[in-house]
């Protein structure tokens, strides 16, 4: 089980980076244009 949760942890970190990139680029220019 330990290895599986380690995998899940790695995946969550990577998915968070992707989500921040996606929302970040939209929010940045949304805020700039406001």
């Amino acid at each position: 089980m330990a290895a599986v949760s380690r995998n899940a942890r790695t995946a969550l970190i990577l998915a968070s980076i992707a989500l921040v990139g996606f929302l970040g680029v939209i929010l940045k220019y949304w805020v700039m244009s406001a």
């Binding site: 380690r6 995998n7 790695t10 996606f22 929302l23 680029v25 220019y29 244009s33």
Partner: protein, 531 residues
């Protein structure tokens, strides 16, 4: 057996290798990395053929000046869809197919870390491709904006643009899920003793590529989402009429787009770094420097994006920065080319089909790199921007680079995948026909571009006729040559001679040294101890 391997073994139902399903359901429900790798590779080939047909429509129209076959609108749709399908549907999935097949076998893992997500990553792709194709049947047809999907044209297109935006979202989701799987597998599931610096270079190049994908795919998704909200929700990110900035789109797109070039090229480097040592019967020269050079290329790829848009207007200091940063990439790329040549130096070389394609890659990709260096120089790029010189340059990188490497890899690993040998004579015919027709098609485009022929036009002045005629003849020869490739692969699968356990004596990665040929459906269960 490790806990990871134990869990995977239960998930995959080892009692029945295909989880109780046969026929089509086996392929729809499979969570096996080898099955999914096969699906990616076949999908990629179908897309390659589809994108290839579109290229032939383009080349048929450009065979002679004047409008002969298609109207300009449809011509634009062809150039757009050819680019999107080849980049996102053919080349990228081909290397994800290699990654699925090879990474677990090369690091001694039983499967990918997230086997079900792996299935999902693949099965999203056909729906994305379907959306792209369906866009042709919407009012106004498919978008004719170029594969870069530049604003403000994208804001003005019909419903086909929305389908394309959703397709890009799906393709991005697939890539991000695939990347999460690859990074997690490489970082957490290597066999005991398989340290990072012992991994085959193919795994290294994919690890770095996966990080690139995680970093830039969401940026593309953000850009097309902003395009979508500009189209339907009253925002004006890129719409100048509402106070937006179309050039902003170009900046965001190329922040994705330049790393994308390396997302395509790095796995190709990885394949070539496996093939050249095997047929030189020598270890790869400068392994550590190859890893560092790959990392350097990936890092530099984030600070060069505006070399694609020198002509939009930017301060001279900006132009200088992007020019110097771009020329800097030649250093780690040169390290790689040097190392491949040094690997062959005094090696016991043989020239089977995989090696021929690898050397073809080395020769032509380097040529594409040199023309890239030419284009990185601001004064020259301002003359050559949006000419056929650029078209020639990126086809030397994408086709002679990525596609040649993919062919090298397919011929190299076919015996391991199928347990059968391909027809060497036909394989070599395929190489030489591809090599000759590729150059007939694209080398002449440099001259058309230098003479000033713009890209993405269905008609052109008489002065460009000869170059275009030669290029179109080459393109049809190139396309037909790929039918020979299909025949060679099918012949290998159906009635190829039985492959020996290790058909390439110089191959030394785990899939050759620790697994039988063909590779069993479940491998490295338990994991090997390599300490």
């Amino acid at each position: 057996m490790s806990a990871a391997a134990d869990t995977l073994a239960q998930d995959h139902g080892h009692a029945d290798p295909h989880g109780g399903y046969g026929g089509l359901m086996r392929w729809i429900t499979t969570t096996n990395h080898k099955d999914i790798g096969t699906l990616y590779l076949w999908f990629s080939f179908v897309m390659f053929m589809l994108g290839g047909v579109m290229a032939l429509v383009i080349r048929a129209e450009l065979f002679a000046p004047g409008l002969q076959i298609v109207d300009p609108d449809f011509f634009n749709q062809m150039t757009t869809m050819h680019g999107l399908i080849m980049v996102f549907g053919a080349i990228m999935p081909a290397f994800v197919g290699f990654a699925n097949w090879l990474i677990p076998m090369q690091i001694g893992a039983p499967d990918m870390a997230f086997a079900r997500m792996n299935n999902w990553s693949f099965w999203i792709l056909p729906f994305a491709a379907l959306l792209l194709v369906l866009s042709f049947f919407t009012p106004g047809g498919a978008p004719g904006v170029g594969w870069t999907l530049y604003a403000p044209l994208t804001v003005q297109m019909g419903v086909g643009m929305d389908l394309t935006i959703f397709a890009v979202h799906l393709l991005g989701m697939s890539s991000i899920m695939g990347s999460i799987n690859i990074i997690t597998t490489v970082l957490n599931m290597r066999a005991p003793g398989m340290t990072l610096m012992k991994m085959p270079l193919f795994c290294w190049t994919w690890l770095i590529t996966a990080y690139l994908l995680i970093a830039v795919m969401p940026v593309l998704a953000g850009a097309v989402t902003m395009t979508l909200t500009d189209r339907h929700f009253g925002t004006s990110f890129f719409n100048a009429a509402g106070g937006g900035d179309p050039v902003l789109y170009q900046h965001i797109f190329w922040f994705f787009g330049h790393p994308e070039v390396y997302i395509i090229a790095l796995p190709a480097f990885g394949v070539v770094s496996q093939v050249i040592p095997a047929f030189s019967r020598k270890p790869l020269f400068g392994y550590a420097s190859m890893v560092y050079a790959t990392s350097a290329i990936a890092i530099l790829s984030f600070i060069v994006w505006a070399h694609h848009m020198y002509t939009v207007g930017m301060p001279v200091t900006g132009q200088l920065f992007f020019m110097y940063a771009t020329t800097l990439i030649a250093v780690p790329t040169g390290v790689k080319v040097f190392n491949w040549v040094a690997t062959m130096w005094k090696g016991s070389l043989t020239f089977e089909t995989p090696m021929l394609f690898a050397i073809g890659f080395l020769f032509l990709f380097t040529l594409g790199g040199f023309t890239g260096l030419v284009l990185s120089l601001v004064p020259i790029d301002i003359q050559l921007h949006d000419t056929y010189y650029v078209v020639a340059h990126f086809h030397y990188v994408m086709v002679a680079g990525a596609l040649f490497a993919a062919f090298a890899g397919i011929y190299f690993w076919l015996p391991k995948w199928t347990g059968r040998m391909y027809d060497e004579t036909l394989g070599q015919w395929h190489f030489w026909l591809t090599m000759i027709f590729f150059n007939v098609t694209f080398f002449v485009q440099h001259f058309a571009g230098l003479a000033g022929m713009p890209r993405r036009i269905p008609d052109y002045p008489l002065m460009f006729e000869t170059w275009n005629m030669i290029s179109s003849i080459g393109a049809f020869g190139f396309g037909l040559s790929q039918l020979l490739f299909l025949y060679v692969v099918l012949k290998c699968i159906r009635r190829g001679e039985k492959a020996p356990e290790k058909p390439w004596e110089g191959a030394d990665s785990l899939e050759w040294t620790h697994l039988p040929t063909p590779a069993p459906y479940h491998s490295f269960d338990p994991q090997p101890d390599l300490r």
